[in-house]
Amino acid sequence: MSILVWTWIITGASFALYIYIAYAARAKSTGDFYAAEQSVPAFMNGMATGADWMSAASFISMAGLISFMGRDGSFYLMGWTGGYVLLAFLFGPYLRKYGKFTIPQFMADRYYSNTIRVVSLCCAIFVSFTYVAGQMRGVGVVFSRFMGLSIDMGVVVGMALVFFYATLGGMKGITYTQVAQYCVLITAYLIPAIFISMQFTGNPIPQLGYGSTITPEGAALLNDPATQGKYLLDVLDGIQKDLGFAAYTQGTRPRIDVWFITMSLMIGTAGLPHILIRFFTVPKMRDARSSAGWALIFIALLYTTAPAIAVFARTNFVKSIHNVRYEDAPSWFKNWEKTKLVGWKDKNGDGVMQIAKGAWDDAKSTNEVKIDQDIMVLANPEIAKLPNWVVGLIGAGGLAAALSTAAGLLLVISAAISHDLMKGIITPDMSEKAELMWARAAAGVAVCIAGLFGIYPPGFVAQVVAFAFGLAAASFFPCILMGVFNKKMNKEGAMAGMIVGIVFVAAYIIYFKFVNPSMNNAKGWWFGISPEGIGTVGAALNFITMYVVSKFTPAPPQEIQDLVGSLRFPGKVAPPSHH
């Protein structure tokens, strides 16, 4: 059967499964809709968190990005997993003990202020929309590349599916659909990686494979008998140097920048509302800790495979294209040329494809080959000559990754509108039925807006992704942390800290991305810290501001301090006697 037929069968079956699960797990109350009645087992919640977290970008683009960046790309790997340690230690159990439904609500209760609630809900909506725009686009792109639909049509199909299960099922429907989606996406990601690792190194575990030596079969695939018996990473380092790049296992980015980006991604991860709310869905405090543990196992399964795919794909790609005559190019190259993910421009007129430093459409560079980062995952099974059904899996996996993340984000937006804005501030005496209606309506509207972002992608999406993490790092992370670990932290401190953090990060990113992009380089940045890493500084400023302001303003009321005390222990805790 052809790749197209396999893709339709696998994707169709997975969609039918999602719809069935969403119908079976539909929400009946607001508790169901926002927090799945706090009945999700830790193991399942970990899986759902994994799917929630791993987006279209993680699935499709990350391995390719790393393959271009070499060791520097590790900040994605460490940054996007290290945050779970913070979640397990510092946030998860205490948010679960608090037990309500949204992050703005937590902020409002802990800092006894509706103003903070409004600021928080605006942050939550902004961060989530920034993130969701890329997901819907991802859905459209996968549909168009694998299934021959137009991108717009793909976005509409994706919207219809998410609309169905997010508005019907709420958190409960989303959670169990995400569990299924995790299974689909991880299978789709691991199977090609395992096959390729076997082909090159004979080791079925890709995480070990890319640190192994190349087998005779691998050397034959690379068309280079000399590579047999050598370590794969050494071969790749050699290839990179021959082409004029830095060695793959070496970094070129300033270390201070790598440090700050890693930190910013970690604390940004721990401050993302759609991840934080997952901890409300488990039954007990201890389940919150272990569900973070499960989540990280499930995430690390993909994140430790990604650098292996990066190494296999990069080596394979260069070896099968560089210095090869165009008419002898492998069939996958010509197939994917149609999608414009790869391309060739014969600058020196010798009919041979050459890869070098620089852009392929830049006349000054000798590079003739266009390589889009996404090709490394999307075309990897074809490059490695794997059977058609394996290629068909990739489409279903990419869709699962994009849809599951989109659904989690839409729920944050919907809850911010119905629970925090409508019920919390505008009409506090609203009935549960009315609130549930608002929640569904808000989810529906949010799906449509997200779909529009997918069909008409605003040019600034890529620019503002740094914003999502920077903002989460500089606003939510410090305030929630102090909210749990410092009883004396008051609303004046939190308010001032949040404003300083948000304004600083926003100003820095807007300046370098929009006002003065020509300065956006290591020389122009403050202390060599890029806009991607500035969230770390924003968070530090937030902490300092909070601390100083709280020292000069009244301590929070006793009942707030008791509330904080009660968050720290499981079960019912009698408030300590007051002296």
Partner: protein
């Protein structure tokens, strides 16, 4: 749980967090970024050690750290008789 016991429980919890976060910092920010080039002089199989920490080692340690914390806290809950049961 009376106030003194609450304080003791919280203090033990904080100690665990500080120690485990120190390891979290060491494997990622220290081994994976700050001294990565020096560690690269050592090799395990095909991996330069610093590169391995940046690519995989830190993530594997993160997973271990969370599960160690899960185990320690479950024991602590039993010790202070606030265990939530299965």
């Amino acid at each position: 749980m009376d106030a003194a016991k609450q304080q003791a429980y919280w203090k033990e919890n904080l100690t665990y967090i500080v120690v485990l976060l120190a390891i979290w910092f060491f494997v990622s920010f220290f081994c994976g970024i700050m001294v990565v080039d020096q560690l690269d002089a050592v090799r395990i199989g095909g991996f330069p050690l610093g590169f391995w920490f940046a690519n995989q080692g830190s993530m594997i340690t993160f997973v271990a750290l969370i599960w160690i914390y899960v185990g320690l806290m479950n024991k602590l809950d039993i010790k202070y008789d606030v265990h939530e049961g299965e």
